[in-house]
């Protein structure tokens, strides 16, 4: 119980700090220009600043901290991953995609601005991610910068997030089994979560061979995260979630919940988290925040 309070405080502080640091960093990265591009940058700010849980930047900075990485550098890299995440939400919310009106408890970007601005703001955040990573402020070592960029570009493109999104679009009315859903979600959600952990290790100069336990942790929490999302869609409170729920059922999609049931999905998510935490055993207390984050991922209400 005492341990749980400590780890809860660690997590609460970690979330509060990263939310503040990411907001501050985006504020500095996105000055509003004095010309007609102002509307574009205001749209980027509307989507990027405030509201997000910042799970990906926290995964990255918590991993980086285990290896003594300078926090500013890790926060910058975290903003790069978050910029990709935010761009993907903007495009996913478009009328031609999921057609959502609500995100983080406020109007989606195309509702607040317009569709064309939303497309462009997403595209510009997409570029911003790579601009951040190629800047020497993220790492003075060009090899590290190149490795960060490779990792993020692969995680977000056709063999990562965007590929998973395409499989998800094809899923409506399709008859995916558990294996297909697992593969889809490993791409759609898992790839970027895994990249967050990987990039923390890259900044920490951990050689690829040494990243195996971190990768195993990331793979397990990636699936647990998506199972929790599927559960939230069925059992969550729309007010707290700040976005439309009950969508999977409306769209007739197979999810972890339709395939395993609510209780089966809960059991599976908890088992994955236990397994994820187990992969970090050798890091001891250094991994306390990553372990607490794994628990949070399945217990969150938004």
């Amino acid at each position: 119980m005492a341990l749980s309070i400590v780890s809860n405080n660690l997590l609460a502080d970690g979330l509060k700090d990263i939310q503040q640091d990411v907001d501050t960093a985006f504020d500095l990265l996105l000055p509003v220009p004095g010309d007609t591009r102002a509307r574009l940058v205001e749209a980027m700010r509307y989507a990027a600043i405030g509201g997000g849980k910042r799970v990906r930047p926290l995964l990255l900075t918590a991993t980086a901290a285990m290896f003594g990485v300078d926090r500013d550098a890790a926060v910058r890299a975290g903003c790069a991953v978050e910029a990709i995440h935010v761009y993907s939400l903007i495009h996913d919310d478009l009328p031609c995609m999921d057609d959502d009106d609500l995100r983080h408890g406020k109007a989606t970007l195309h509702k607040q601005f317009d569709e064309a601005t939303a497309v462009l703001a997403g595209d510009s955040l997409h570029d911003l991610a790579f601009e951040i990573l190629s800047d020497t402020g993220t790492s003075g070592d060009p090899f590290t910068r190149a490795e960060l960029i490779t990792t993020l570009a692969r995680a977000s493109g056709m063999n990562g997030m965007a590929g998973g999104q395409m499989m998800d679009m094809a899923a409506e009315g399709a008859d995916y089994d558990l294996q297909a859903i697992t593969r889809l979600q490993q791409l759609k959600t898992g790839a970027l979560l895994a990249a967050s952990v990987e990039m923390g290790a890259i900044l920490g100069k951990v050689a690829p061979d040494g990243r195996a336990p971190l990768r195993a942790y990331a793979r397990d929490i990636g699936l647990a995260f998506q199972i929790a999302d599927d559960l939230l869609d069925v059992t969550g409170d729309q007010e707290k979630a700040g976005k439309a729920l009950r969508k999977d059922d409306e769209q007739g999609k197979q999810t972890f919940v339709t395939l395993m049931g609510v209780d089966g999905a809960k059991d599976q998510a908890r088992a994955l988290v236990d397994q994820a935490v187990g992969h970090l055993a050798n890091y001891g207390d250094d991994a306390a925040l990553l372990k607490a984050l794994a628990r949070y991922i399945v217990e969150r209400d938004r």
Copy 2:
């Protein structure tokens, strides 16, 4: 006259070779996967393979060749720039943007597939550009890779192409003067053309100081290219152009042609090309292809 025939052949061969090499490279970069992502990759192939003039890859490879860069590496970097160009066309053609039905003489991507697939295919080509540049096949030197990525990300984002696109959207009905239109076009079209030349020089290990004449060349042809585009919109043959023309007038936009008149714009484009060619004087015959390309940019009919 003899010189003109030589340079015409040089250009014709250069265009033919790069069109072939870029198509071959995209074919290899985009294998269709055996799962439900197939539709996404087929859409990427539909947009990326065939049809384009490949002006940007030719600028890049012609510059790189002046400094003895391996052609395969230069073609790869050229494909990265072209992937950005193609993604921007896909998103620009969307109903919420320019709402175009025709591109390179065939149906636009969202007409051939659907809007959601077009958004995702654009996003995935956007990532592909950075995946290509971060691969060691483009350059074994991580510093070069990081510099290529920085250059391309800046040229395509809010301070480059996307920023110019936003200014262009705000231009409908606005009262832009020549200075504002020049600034807009330097971002919207010029940034990516300039990045193409710059990336050729980066691959050629030309130090930033030594790139000044190449940058001056790129700036001038960037403007000339856009003036030629504005002229094509007014005087061109839609069949040859393979896309909708007479759009600027319909949308009530100020362009170089509305501000300078057809003859004034033609004179200005030719003067810019002369000036661009002048910047390359010190390179002599090594720059013959870049010089011929400058002429082509204002004389093309598509």
